[in-house]
Every structure is written in C-alpha cells, then in structure tokens.
Amino acid sequence: MSTSKILIRGAKVLGGDVQDVLIEGERIAEVGTGLSADGAQVIEADGQILLPGLVDLHTHLREPGREDSETVLTGTRAAAKGGFTAVHAMANTFPVADTAGVVEQVWRLGKESGYCDVQPVGAVTVGLEGKQLAELGAMHDSAAGVVVFSDDGKCVDDAVIMRRALEYVKAFDGVIAQHAQEPRLTEGAQMNEGIVSAELGLGGWPAVAEESIISRDVLLAAHVGSRVHICHLSTAGSVEIVRWAKSKGWNVTAEVTPHHLLLTDELVRSYNPVYKVNPPLRTEKDVMALREALADGTIDCVATDHAPHPHEDKDCEWGAAAMGMVGLETALSVVQQTMVETGMLDWAAVADRMSFRPAEIGRLGGHGRPVAAGEPANIVLVDPAYRGNVDPTGFASRSRNTPYEGRELPGRVTHTFLRGHATVSGGELA
C-alpha cells in the first residue's frame, strides 16, 4: 500500500522559523528546510502559521437528543473548519451521557464522522441531578475511555458529591470539570449582576456565584489530592482564586472561552439574546483579567463552550431565550484578535493554550503533540493576514447563534489535517 505524501512548504511552524513539513500517511515524516517535493502533493504556505491541531475541552454537540441544533457530524465539520482535530463533547444530551452506552455511542459517531476526533465527557452524576454518582469507572473503561467528567450546564453544588467525585476518579487519573454556578445565588439570573443589569432590569448573576464554588472546589481538590478543572472562568475574582490555588501547588486547571476574552455585558443593552450565555458576559475589567491570566498561564487553555441553538430559541425576548453561543468556527480568530494582536501571546503560546495544554488535561495521547518527525500529522494552517466579516450563513455548524455576525475578525484556517488526512483545504471542508 502506497502512503500519500503531502509537503507543506514555507509555513512558520508555531509562528517561528519558516520550515517545510512533510506528511507521510498519518504521521509527520520530516520537518526542515528545502525538503524534497518528490511524489508529494505540495501546499504552498507562504506567510501562514502552522500549528498542531487544536483541541477543545468543551463543546456541546447535542447528539443524541437535540439533532435540530447540532449533530456529531455537523459539529465535527464546524470543528475542522475552526482548526480543531479533537473536541470534547459535553454530557448534557438527551439521554444524558451518564452511562458507558451513551458515551460509546457519541464516541462512535465521532469516529464515523471522520472530521475530528470526539472525546465524550461523562456526566458526574446520574441525569446531571447532582445526587448520585454516575458509573464513572464504567465510562472510563468503555471504548470511549472517558477521562473528563462534568455535569456542565449544571453545577455539582453538593459539597459531598463533589468531594467524592474528585476522590473517586483519582483511581484512573480522571478529572472533574466543574461548571461553577452556585444555584441559589443565580435563581432567575439573566446576565452579569452590575451596572448594566441594574439599568436593564434583568436578574443579576453575581460574580460571587462562580467564585464561591471555585473557592470551595480548589480547597476540596487540595484536601483530597485530586485534580479539578474549572470550566469557562469568567471573572477577575475567579482568576485570583485559581492563581492562588496554583501558587499552592494544587492540581487545578482552568479554561476560558473566546467570547469571555472579547465581549462584555454592555452588549446586553441591545436585549439581543445572541449575547445570552452561561456564564454571562462580564465587564471590561473581567475581560482584561482573563486575558492576563491566559497570558501568564493561570488559565491553562481556551475552550469554546460551543453551544448551538436553533433559530427560534434565540429569535425571541431575552427572558425566553436559550443560553449559549456557537464558537468552534471563530475561536482561533478571536484568540488572534484578543491575544496575538495585542502582543499578549505569540503563536507558540497559542499552540500551548489551544492544543498542548487541553490535550494534556484531557490525557489525549494522539493530540497536542509537537510538530516533529514521527508525531501524528494533526496540523492546522492559519492565514493570519486574512480579514473578513463573520458570515454565519457559511457556517458548517447546524446553528447560527454567533455573537460575531458582521463583525470583522482576523485570521482564517486554510487547512486542517487529521492524522494526515485533509479535513479542510483552501478554507473549505475537504
């Protein structure tokens, strides 16, 4: 059997030196200068940035149950367009991914899609009810090999359940990814509690509802010697708590979404539900603290919290609208704008925050690897000079609930390779 050869010529590898990368079959065969194009399909990549395939710790692919908003197939196509080669799929599906059967189903759908690896996240508790532990071990032992567990969408608010879950998954190096939202403090909450909510008369979502849970959970993780991952950190106070926990040497990791790096609650003044999201958009001060934290490593990685919703769930009054935004196809552009073009991260650090670190947290062996000979050819090419307005009609995702419609964002994924196979070529799905 002859293996296909692809030569990517002249890209800046991790934003550094201009090099050629030769892919043979599923692996990177060679990295260097002046590599032979003999027998290879050549991709001229002058001016482009070559990164390891991006890894997302947090998406909602909605299958099974809400195929009207997204399926594993459409979600992975969106992921590929965004430069991702692996995504974690959250457990809040219908039925909930709280058994080996459901996580294996999602895992298999991902394999069949062929666009992006799908790593299912298992629910922490049965039915996301927060009362009884789901069969965490069975999900880990299944074909899906679940490592990350989360009740995302809901907070594991019972301190004892959280403690037990943290302890239990130590047996197989699992991690609990917490959606930090104290439920009583957020009853009826519609947006960040502050100046804007006071004027708009929308129920306030206080920062302390997030920070109090994170405080408790980093202490719990320290107490039982487990690792905890904080989903979608959104406040300056949360950053301070995670920074403190890390300074103690505790095993705490955290993610931030692209939208929390760019958008603020001022946008809610439009009452346009496209800005309704959980956790809510916060203030400028929070945005700046999150960028600083991502730059200094307090926040480990960027995760999209890609949350597709059908049009009718956003085409209504604020109070009736669903929470969430799609994010896979715009994530890298938002990171380029907020972190690279502000000088806070170079491309090598982007590779760290969007590939190496999330793969490490999720223990994904074949992803987040260096761009070097012998490694799996999970690669993305980015044209950083591109400028364009976001047009949701061109999305691969089944849903269009983007907060960036019409907004100019920099950068464009031109090619994505999943184990040597092009999933995106020339900016379009291959």
Partner: protein
C-alpha cells in the same frame, strides 16, 4: 419625537417637556363637553398585554379612544399567547392586522425593545411596563403630576395644595423627589429616575439595601437607607408597592418591620414640608408601604395620577402617531378642521 417609547432614558429634556405640554392640552380637552379628538381616526392601536394589568390597559384604551383610534385589546390570558405562541408570531399577527401602534406590557424585561428593533412589525411600540425594566408612561404621568403641583403656580412655584396648576414649558429643576420601596423589582423607579433627572429634579432612592440593585450607584440619583432623614427635605415622596411575598425570599424580615422602617404613616407625613406631595403609582398595599391616613390625605395625588395617566398616554400616542404639528392645533376641534393632514 422618536418612533417608539421604550425607555425614559431615550427622552431628551425637550422631548419630555413636549410630552408634558401636550398632555396639558389633552387634559384641557378632557374638561370639555366633547372629550373626543379626531386626530387618530382610522389608525389602529393594539393593547398587547402579556401580563394582567386592567388599570394600565384601561388607561391606554381610554386615551386611544379619545383620539378616535380603533382599539384592539389582545390579552395573553386564554389566548394563543398563553399556549406558547412566541412574541415573534404574535408580532407578525399584529403586523398583518395593520397595527399603527402596539402598546405592550410584558413580564420579560426588554420585550418591547425586542419588538421595536426586531423588524417583526412596522408600527410604533409603546412600552406599558416590561418586567423589572421600565414603565415610561407611568413616569411621565408622575412627572406631569409633580409639575402641576410643584411648578404649577403663576410664579413657577408650588400650588400649596390648592389644586393642580399649569406648568406648561417648565421642568422640575431643583425639586427634591424621594422614591421609597422595592426599587430592585420596580420598573416605575427606573423610569422615574431617568426622567426626573432629565427634568432637573434631584432624586433620592430610599430602600432597605436588599431591595436596591447592585449597580444602583451608577444611576443619576442619591441613595439612602434612612427614610426619616430624607422626608423633611423632600418636595414629593413616592411610595412604591412592596409585595408581601418578598419577605419569603429574605428581602426583609417581616411586614411589620418593613412598615416601621420604610412605610409612610401619619407621623412621618407630619414631618414633610407644607407643600410636599405624597404619590403612589398603585396598586397600594395599605398598611404596608403606606397607611390609609396618608393615602387619603390632602397631600396625596394618587387619584389624580390615574386621571393624568390618560392625558399622558393621549399625548404619547398623538406625538408618536400624529406627526409633528403642534398639539394645540389638534387639540382645538375648530382649528383641527383647518389643519391639513
């Protein structure tokens, strides 16, 4: 004037005074034997009420009818709306019916804003109260009532309870207005703070800290927790309705404690300035935020506020729908005939 009335923060001082002056004209019409004006003949006003409020709906209905508009009442209760029809589909229905103005009351903050900005319908949207956001016509009628009493005398001063005067052309510069009660959940308070500030008044909010929103410090007003300290300085004290059920969510311990600390009773009223007013947007919880003695006193403008509501709503509909010609012309039947439309 703008096409919609969603928030009092959208009104400039000139806009606000134009509405109040127009309402004076409308009030004069109400004193005539024939109360009806032909101004909005052939126009359709829809009262779209997702939340029960007979008082407000009747007020808008009376206002529209006095302007000769066709009025359609579209109440959510028992209709397709309560069976899950979306705001959008309801709006599209009203659009198909050719509504020139939609008066909307909704439990969700921002729903009128959404109706006005979504492209679902072409007519003017008048916010008749949205969630805990705003109730602009209530604030306008409150300001109208204040102006008639506090700036209604010939010299621009207070009328000293000798009945309402005419404050046409005037604002409320320097008047000290105190708003007391559940500011957190009050759309009336939000609309009043913006409007009274625009008209030059100095507003003080008084409430237990639990019933003030986080972020209130950015509002153009003062905040106090001490009603007794503020009462003697006030030109008007507006009491907001406080739902007894709030105590179940720990906003305050008991009704009695609330009434003691933040209620307006005879003793407190006795410490008000001679000319000062007692106001309430209704419906009142007598014995809770206001005692019966105060509600029925000579300082109380509560009944008058209801009547002024019709004049204000006429003015708003006239200005939003009737064009830019002076209200005086439209409000004078003999001259109306000569004014080309």
């Amino acid at each position: 004037m703008k096409r919609h009335l969603i928030s009092t923060s959208d009104l400039s001082r000139d806009d606000a005074i134009l509405i109040l002056d127009t309402a004076e004209e409308m009030a004069r019409v109400a004193d005539r034997p024939i109360k009806k004006l032909p101004t909005l003949r052939g126009r359709t006003v829809v009262n779209l009420f997702f939340e029960d409020s007979t008082r407000t709906r009747i007020s808008f209905e009376a206002a529209a009818k006095r302007l000769s508009a066709d009025v359609i009442n579209f109440s959510a209760k028992g209709s397709s709306v309560s069976k899950g029809e979306s705001l959008k589909d309801t709006a599209l229905t009203l659009q198909a019916m050719g509504a020139d103005a939609v008066v909307v009351r909704h439990h969700a903050s921002g729903a009128p804003h959404r109706l006005a900005g979504s492209g679902w319908l072409d007519g003017s949207v008048i916010n008749a109260g949205d969630g805990t956001h705003e109730h602009p016509t209530q604030a306008l009628l409150d300001a109208f009532t204040m102006r008639r009493h506090l700036a209604g005398a010939a010299d621009g001063g207070p009328t000293m309870h000798q009945g309402p005067g005419d404050g046409t052309g005037r604002d409320l510069a320097g008047r000290k207005i105190t708003i007391v009660g559940d500011v957190l959940h009050s759309r009336v308070a939000r609309s009043n703070v913006h409007l009274l500030h625009t008209l030059g008044a100095e507003v003080t909010l008084v409430a237990p800290p639990t019933l003030l929103p986080i972020g209130v410090e950015s509002w153009p007003c003062e905040v106090s927790y001490d009603l007794d300290a503020v009462i003697p300085k006030s030109d008007a004290v507006m009491m907001l309705r406080v739902q007894r059920e709030r105590m179940n969510a720990a906003f305050f311990p008991t009704e009695r404690e609330y009434a003691r600390r933040y209620g307006l009773d005879g003793d407190r009223m006795a410490r008000m300035q001679e000319h000062a007013l007692v106001m309430h947007p209704g419906p009142m919880n007598r014995g809770m935020e206001i005692s019966a003695e105060v509600a029925d006193s000579h300082r109380s403008t509560i009944v008058e506020q209801v009547a002024n509501g019709v004049s204000i709503r006429m003015a708003v509909m006239y200005l939003l729908l009737g064009g830019n010609e002076p209200a005086v012309a439209a409000a004078n039947p003999t001259r109306t005939e000569e004014t080309p439309k």
